[in-house]
Symmetry: C2
Subunit: 378 residues, 2 copies
């Protein structure tokens, strides 16, 4: 636990970057995908199974954990790593995104946000200082600033207001974080500004001035088309320091990952591989496959017999179809595992391609295989 946080950029290929993050709980090869462990668990998976997919870092949700079981309780139990038996790096979000999206009743003020808990109806306050305190109690290797994340489309005024508030909160988070002296731990700032390039530039510049160990691009994947998201990413990433990791929050599909890495992103998190896995959908090298479809009922082939992960090689489509139709827990577990393994294999493929300076070829080949589709494995 004595590693100080650092990021080393190893290779670039165009805008794509191959690097390594060092945290108190270990190293993370970038570009990296972080499985989401909302309530101190990646849904349905033992921590060792998560690690076996290739994941080197998991995301925890401050909003959920502060409400249940509570940050002070987790701290008393030895922190989130010990609590969920995940010895590798953890990043926690600040809770802001979920306060905005999940609380029916909330009041946003300069000081912070007050909201009604969806669990017991109690009024709870989250300020920049409290967000940092909670993340320190959880023991996150990487903490995120509290920000205001708004949906798109939104008015220019609303976007500017939220971005400015997020900047003021960024400063307060930085001060609160420095006041705690957690040697080697990191705090990331979050660029806001909606789909307005000028506001994004202003946000990126101001955050860089404050100075963070890494920078996230927030407020995307909130309803806008992929091309809008990618345009903002392409414009924003170059404004961020070369020597700091860049994290695109809440993204995305396999294609989103490929495209965002091509535009200079290093880190991602998304519920898609696990959520879709729980609903019968598999992500594979040959595109996505809906296992609920009757055409799989007699198909003895595994999802990908050349996968590096045994689960994708072992179970037949017919069996996965059966488990999906029968709404069996094991179907959710197997497909979540298979999907996380595919996401990690995709990231590993990207890292290798960047290191070999052939990222464009890898991207083209990967997309061609998705489009060629499943029939090719017959």
């Amino acid at each position: 636990m004595s590693n100080a946080f650092s990021f080393r950029l190893q290779t670039t290929d165009g805008a794509a970057r191959r690097g390594e993050i060092v945290t108190p709980h270990g190293r993370v090869q970038t570009p990296a995908f972080m499985p989401v462990g909302t309530q101190a668990t990646v849904k349905g998976l033992m921590p060792e199974a998560v690690a076996a997919t290739g994941a080197e870092i998991v995301l925890g949700n401050t909003y959920h954990l502060m409400l249940r079981p509570g940050a002070e309780r987790i701290a008393a139990l030895g922190g989130l790593h010990a609590f969920m038996n995940w010895p590798l790096p953890l990043l926690t979000d600040s809770g802001g995104f979920q306060v905005m999206s999940l609380s029916a009743l909330r009041r946003l003020e300069e000081h912070g946000v007050t909201f009604r808990s969806h669990l017991d109806g109690a009024m709870v306050e989250l300020s920049p200082e409290r967000a940092i305190e909670i993340q320190a109690l959880l023991g996150a290797d990487i903490a995120m600033q509290l920000d205001e994340c708004i949906g798109l489309p939104a008015s220019a005024e609303e976007i500017a207001r939220a971005m400015q508030l997020s900047l003021r909160w960024a400063e307060r988070c930085k001060r609160a974080f420095e006041g705690r002296v957690r040697e080697g731990y990191a705090l990331f700032g979050i660029v806001q500004g909606g789909d307005d390039p000028a506001l994004r530039a202003e946000s990126a510049k101001a955050l860089t001035g404050i100075g963070f160990e890494g920078y996230a691009i927030g407020g995307l994947a909130v309803g806008e088309p992929q091309e809008v998201m990618l345009k903002i990413v392409a414009e924003t990433a170059p404004m961020l320091p070369q020597d700091r990791p860049r994290y695109l929050m809440g993204v995305g599909t396999p294609d989103d990952l490929l495209q965002a890495v091509a535009r200079g992103i290093d880190m991602f998190d998304c519920v898609l591989p696990t959520r879709n896995g729980r609903h019968g959908m598999a992500f594979t090298r040959y595109g996505s496959i809906n296992l609920a479809n009757a055409r799989h009922a007699n198909d003895a082939r595994p999802l990908d017999e050349q996968s590096a992960h045994p689960t994708a090689r072992t179970y037949s489509r017919a069996y996965l179809h059966h488990l999906t139709k029968a709404n069996e827990l094991l179907g959710q577990v197997l497909l979540s595992t298979i999907n996380l393994a595919y996401y990690q294999a995709l990231m590993a493929g990207m890292r290798e391609a960047i290191a070999a300076k052939r990222f464009a070829d890898f991207q083209a080949a990967t997309k061609a295989r998705w489009e060629q589709g499943d029939i090719a494995t017959m």
Copy 2:
């Protein structure tokens, strides 16, 4: 797959028996507990996780599998072992118990039972011959005769009628089974007769006359008090051939297992460890523990730090409480695993105690630890 079915009785200690079953897919040490894989899966657990609890044989439910995905389909996909990726022995029930308990609409006749599928409303027929055919299609190492299992209490006439019908079906199952020539596979008969010792004796004698590779005691754990069940077991077991395994169907709690082994039973199956695990209940050496209880919220201790299974040693009660309260899939997975591991450890302890001729001591010490309760681990 060349092992012929056999049973070898190795040691006895009082009525308790230590033995070994050999099947085409491997050996089973007895007394044995079979986890229930209702729909071709032990709910939520990867097959390797089931094996890692110590299970050497799993039970599959003919009723569920014949309706979905269908026995012919499973056969075309290589049989149930391949379908569910379970390479070790499988026993299938005949479907009779579930037809009786799950079908709202059914018609029982001499020929067999016709019932409405709970899945699509189709009328389906299950006869002794079809039950054997289905179990052969599934590829079960051990098949069960079709029987009529009635609830208790029931009238003497009703019990006698069902027992006699089950005997006639036993004969038809035996003929159907012999007609299929599945070298090394086994068929078990099922003793019926409710809580009437004379009817049980008649059933046991007639079945022994027909001749089976093993004998089950059915129609228990269907509503009667434990002492009635144990009395019937104690009276019935000695009427069965010494050199054949004895299987008490659908039983039971850890105490039921201990008491039934003491009365000469070799095999068990029950949904209790997995079903209760999915509802926040743990079986441990110190009795059963309801993880939903708030007293576990801050308890950093694992359920059993001396368990041979890592899952019971690793996760804190506070974490299991959190997962249970949050209704997280992983809570169901972890507690099902911990419970199956405890059941298997209990069986292993019984086997060792019988071999050492100290079963009575083991039984007393085990019950004392349950009663002493959880406080002892503080």
